[in-house]
Structure formats: structure tokens, C-alpha cells
């Protein structure tokens, strides 16, 4: 995210704090897709993710006057989104989650498409990214997709900066293990 956009986000939050609904629409239009994807990767259910982003932005509307600008607006929103997603996951029975998770993992064992796909290293890498634990998925997404710095990830996840670095390292290591199990040898770790 550019410095200009960060500044502009803060201006919008200032307006939202005064009750400006249009500023809320602009902020929503600007960030809702990324927030949705972050939540979706955690909860694995598009309908639940949609409900949650409405709640995230409603919290932004309600708490805008308390935003102190110590972090970027997008970082603040992702922290709210993470809290909402984890709360939703805690509310669900394990069996339901397992079923949903199972549904998201395609059984592609014997189709010709899969045989072809298995030859595609990129596709395998993406499949392995899907198989990571929520904790590892989260940190990889925050660093690679949401472009969050070490400090910002620490703030969103609520862990020390050194733990952010080691968790990312172990997430990558786990990814390498999954790739190896899928027949992709990368020579690391």
C-alpha cells in the first residue's frame, strides 16, 4: 500500500468518526475484497466470510473515533478481521469445521486433469499452501499477499516480532515438507 493511500485511509477514518457514511462507502470499496480474502482463508466458508466482513466494517464504523493512527488503517482492520474470524471458528463445532475443510480439499485423485496438474509445480505449490495450518496460512498471507511488515504482523497477530520471524520460517519449512511429500524436491530445508 502506498503512503498516499495510507494517509487517505486515515482521512477517511477521520470522516467516518464524524458519521460520514460516504467515507465509509469509499473505505469499504477500497478494502473489502482483501479483508474478505483474509477472512475466507481463515474460515474457509464464503458465506461466513461475507457475514464477517460486514461485522468488521461495522466495528470500523463504531470505533473510528477511537482509532489513534498508531498503525495503518488496513493493519487495524485486519486485526479486527482476525479476531472476528477466530471467534467464529471457536463458535463452530469441530465436526462441522472438519466437514467444511474436507469439502474445500478437492478429491482429484484419478482425473486426467489432476494427472496433468500434478506435473505443474505451481499448482502443487498452491495446493500445499491450502493444506497449511490456519496459523501458518495466516502468516504467509499477511507477509506475501497483504504486504505486512514484521511489526505490522506482530500487531495483527498479537505476538512479538521475533516470533513473527520464526513463525514465518517454520510455516515455510512446513510448506517445503508438504511439497516434498507431493514429490517436489526444492533442496530446502
Amino acid at each position: 500500500m502506498s503512503a498516499n493511500q495510507a494517509t487517505s485511509d486515515e482521512v477517511l477514518i477521520g470522516r467516518i468518526a464524524k458519521g460520514d457514511r460516504l467515507a465509509m462507502q469509499v473505505l469499504f470499496a477500497r478494502h473489502h475484497v482483501r479483508v474478505y480474502r483474509f477472512v475466507l482463508r481463515l474460515v474457509g466458508n464464503p458465506t461466513v466470510a461475507e457475514d464477517l466482513i460486514s461485522e468488521v466494517f461495522l466495528d470500523v464504523w463504531r470505533q473510528a473515533d477511537r482509532f489513534e493512527g498508531r498503525s495503518a488503517v488496513s493493519t487495524w482492520m485486519l486485526a479486527i478481521a482476525r479476531f472476528k474470524a477466530l471467534s467464529a471458528l471457536r463458535k463452530k463445532p469441530d465436526e462441522e469445521l472438519d466437514e467444511e475443510t474436507a469439502e474445500t480439499i478437492e478429491d482429484t485423485a484419478d482425473t486426467p486433469e489432476v494427472a496433468l496438474e500434478k506435473k505443474d509445480k505451481s499448482a502443487i505449490l498452491r495446493q500445499c499452501l491450502e493444506k497449511l495450518s490456519p496459523e501458518h496460512k495466516e502468516i504467509i498471507d499477511l507477509v506475501y499477499y497483504h504486504e505486512k511488515s514484521v511489526e505490522e504482523v506482530a500487531e495483527i497477530v498479537g505476538i512479538p516480532e521475533n516470533t513473527v520471524k520464526t513463525r514465518m520460517f517454520y510455516a515455510r519449512k512446513k510448506l517445503a515438507e508438504l511439497l516434498q511429500a507431493a514429490g517436489v524436491e526444492r533442496g530446502w530445508p
Binding site: 487517505s8 482521512v11 477517511l12 470522516r15 468518526a17 464524524k18 458519521g19 460520514d20 457514511r21 460516504l22 465509509m24 462507502q25 469509499v26 469499504f28 470499496a29 473489502h32 475484497v33 474478505y36 480474502r37 475466507l40 482463508r41 464464503p46 466470510a49 461475507e50 457475514d51 466482513i53 460486514s54 466494517f57 461495522l58 464504523w61 463504531r62 473515533d65 505451481s122 505449490l125 498452491r126 499452501l129 491450502e130 504467509i140 498471507d141 507477509v143 506475501y144 499477499y145 504486504e147 505486512k148 511488515s149 514484521v150 520471524k165 520464526t166 514465518m168 520460517f169 515455510r172 510448506l175 517445503a176 526444492r186 533442496g187 530446502w188
Partner: protein, 230 residues
């Protein structure tokens, strides 16, 4: 011995930073430190290639997740409306022209701010005149309980691009047989307009067609959300 362990520790620290270096989110000082290490360590450079591969596929994976439907926005603003659209009436001390200028100056370069505001005012007046001549809906984000097999029009709530001139907006509407049927929605949704487009097909197909059309004209329409015709 100490020097060796310090070097190993430094290398480990550098390796931890590779993902952030690939994403371009390190401080300049750390980025330079990583660059120097990469230039002198082939094995580290090879590992950095793996990181770049992971970065690329993570972006690919996330981008393939799609986007939420308009339901998320409808739900949000219904909740906001339920709480009362305004915590504090914004801009009571400001006239409409000032608020329009303030809004557009946030998005356009400074040199365009005044031109944008003027163009927006023209659009505002045009919409007001047209809007008063056609049947006005209640403006809410309604959801139809029965979906017809075929529709003759589809409605979208839109915001016009700050740089769009009145001529561009008029031509855009004329070329697509579209009309402004509502908006601006008063202070609460000052710059949102409801546009109606002619249609002749299944609701989803027609909505998708018009959405695509709107997305391909970002010089005129900056954001759009499908809504129910009244």
C-alpha cells in the same frame, strides 16, 4: 569461534528476513543488508528464489478467491442505518460545494481538484433534475423475494469517477440507454446515484453484463453495486 557463531547468527537473521525482502516491506537499512548478503552468498540467493516462488503463488491463490457479493455491503449499511445514519451530522457548517470539493480533492491530484468539484456539481444538478422527473424509489438496499426469469432493467448504485466530466457522464449514459433514477441520496449518501440500464434476459446474466460494462469504464464510474429495481 565467536566470529563464526556471530556470522552464522547473522546469516540466520538474514534468512528470516527473506520473505519480507521479497515482498518489499523491509526498511531501507534491512533491505540493503539482505541485498549485500545475497550478492555474496549463492546458497542464500537460491533460497531467495524459492521465497519469490512462494510469494508469487500465494498472490495467485489469494487472487483466485474471488470477491464477496453485494450482500456484504447491503448488510453493513443496513446495520449502519439501523444504528442511525449519523453519529454527528457531518459538514453542517459546510455548504455543498465545499463538501464536494473536499471529497474529490482526496482522490484527484491537487491540480484537478477544482475541475473535479465543478464537474461533480454539474452531475449533481443533472441528477437532481432527472431524478425529480422520474419515479423515485425508497433508495434502500432491498432484496427481491422472488427472482423473475427475465428482467427489462437492472439497477446499480454507483459513484462517478472524480475526473469524469459532465459530458463524459452524459455520453456514457446515452450510449448505454441508462438513466439516473435516483440520487444523490442526500447528505447520508451524498454522491451515490442509482442508475437504471435496459435489460432483456435473466437477472444474473444482465447484472453481470452491466457490472462488466461499468468496470470497463473506470474513467467514468469509480465503484458500483448491483441493487434491486424499484
Amino acid at each position: 569461534m565467536n566470529t563464526m557463531s556471530e556470522k552464522a547468527s547473522d546469516r540466520e537473521e538474514i534468512e528470516y528476513l527473506l520473505p519480507w525482502h521479497a515482498a518489499g516491506t523491509l526498511s531501507r537499512r534491512d533491505a540493503e543488508r539482505v541485498e549485500r548478503a545475497l550478492a555474496n552468498d549463492q546458497d542464500l540467493a537460491r533460497r531467495f528464489d524459492l521465497v519469490r516462488e512462494e510469494l508469487s503463488e500465494t498472490i495467485h491463490l489469494n487472487e483466485s478467491l474471488g470477491a464477496p457479493s453485494a450482500r456484504a455491503m447491503e448488510k453493513l449499511f443496513a446495520a449502519i442505518d439501523a444504528e442511525g445514519a449519523y453519529k454527528r451530522k457531518p459538514g453542517l457548517a459546510l455548504d455543498l460545494r465545499t463538501r464536494v470539493a473536499e471529497f474529490f480533492s482526496a482522490f484527484a491530484p491537487r491540480t484537478l481538484a477544482f475541475a473535479s468539484a465543478a464537474a461533480a456539481l454539474v452531475i449533481l444538478l443533472q441528477a437532481g433534475v432527472i431524478g425529480s422527473m422520474v419515479l423515485k424509489g425508497d433508495g434502500g438496499y432491498n432484496t427481491a423475494s422472488i427472482t423473475p426469469a427475465k428482467v427489462d432493467s437492472v439497477d446499480f448504485l454507483v459513484t462517478f469517477a472524480p475526473q469524469a466530466s459532465a459530458d463524459q457522464v452524459s455520453k456514457f449514459l446515452r450510449d448505454r440507454h441508462a438513466t439516473i433514477v435516483d440520487g444523490p441520496k442526500g447528505p447520508a449518501t451524498a454522491m451515490m446515484y442509482r442508475l437504471r440500464f435496459e435489460a432483456n434476459g435473466a437477472p444474473k446474466d444482465e447484472t453481470d453484463r452491466v457490472a462488466k460494462e461499468l468496470q470497463q469504464n473506470r474513467s467514468v464510474i469509480s465503484a458500483e453495486y448491483p441493487t434491486t429495481s424499484n
